[in-house]
Assembly symmetry: C2
DNA sequence: CCGATTTGATCTGTGCGCAGATTATCTGTG
DNA sequence: CACAGATAATCTGCGCACAGATCAAATCGG
């Protein structure tokens, strides 16, 4: 009945697998981000897409959803969904690209820019508190080798 | 219109924030785990709960769902849902605890133990490939400071 | 013993995350 | 021009992840 006597030899237990640690740490970090952004009525992904849209549009060349997804590292479908939520909140505006009627150009509204500014501060503060205990440069160095290219 | 000229001074871009890197790296790792476990018809969370249940029951003291959730670091509600799926697949069995009729004792079935053995190998292989490029001990050291206690 | 509180499991509802399919549009080649 | 293939956005459907509520059973103080 899988009572384990025969398992102890080849099943040493979860121990400290880097994968499990990575997973748990990120879930914890996500909860911290969620809490930091809740007062602004933003989820973490909504924040990432809003900030990414602002970043990409900083030189007057607002992106379409595919470009935004590539920058943010999110799925195209999910980007579509989340952007629709941001639009419903009035934080971004979508209009059909005059040069490609399939594509929708994404612009951050003034309200969106204002929320984003406050969100960036909240996220940076929460991030600093979360990563305070560790050597950030060292962690970034390790993660950059694992993060892979933006899809 | 938030075109960015006024933002460049105080919005330096996403850069390499450790939080974003952590998030992207974990999403990437999750996709690797998903692919590694797909042939066994298991998701990553299902694997974690199955393996955790086996681990906790290794000495003939099978856990209830709260204990399992604590070990696996998952939400109690989600643990309930996922365990129901594992039960539907015949990989675990649930029975009411005779000493506490609210609680359900979770046992890994022989079929579940067999799948778990193969899954452990698949996950360890995929993990080794994923974390190959980096110093695992260093990464584990950093993550352990951030992972927090199991809730 | 009894009411108050706690605990174990589940439900509703929202929001990612992703696979697979769909529709409309664009682009390249003959 | 025509048509094959690629691309942008969206849809269905499943499975986490979590907040908040529900309900029954256990436990504790009096």
């Amino acid at each position: 009945m899988a009572d384990g006597q025969d398992l102890n030899t080849r099943f040493s237990g979860p121990s400290e697998s880097p994968g499990l640690l990575l997973w748990r740490t990120t879930m914890r970090w996500q909860r911290v981000m969620t809490a930091a952004l809740a007062p602004l009525d933003l989820t973490h992904v909504q924040f990432v897409l809003l900030a990414s849209a602002m970043w990409l549009g900083r030189n007057g060349e607002p992106p379409n959803q595919v470009q935004l997804a590539a920058q943010a590292g999110t799925e195209v479908k999910m980007t579509s969904d989340v952007v629709a939520r941001l639009e419903a909140k009035g934080l971004i505006a979508r209009e059909t690209d005059p040069r490609d009627s399939r594509a929708k150009v994404i612009r951050v509204t003034p309200a969106g820019a204002a929320v984003a500014q406050r969100a960036i501060v909240a996220v940076e503060t929460a991030d600093a508190a979360f990563f305070g205990p560790v050597d950030e440069a060292q962690l970034v160095g390790l993660l950059q080798q694992l993060a892979g290219e933006i899809r």
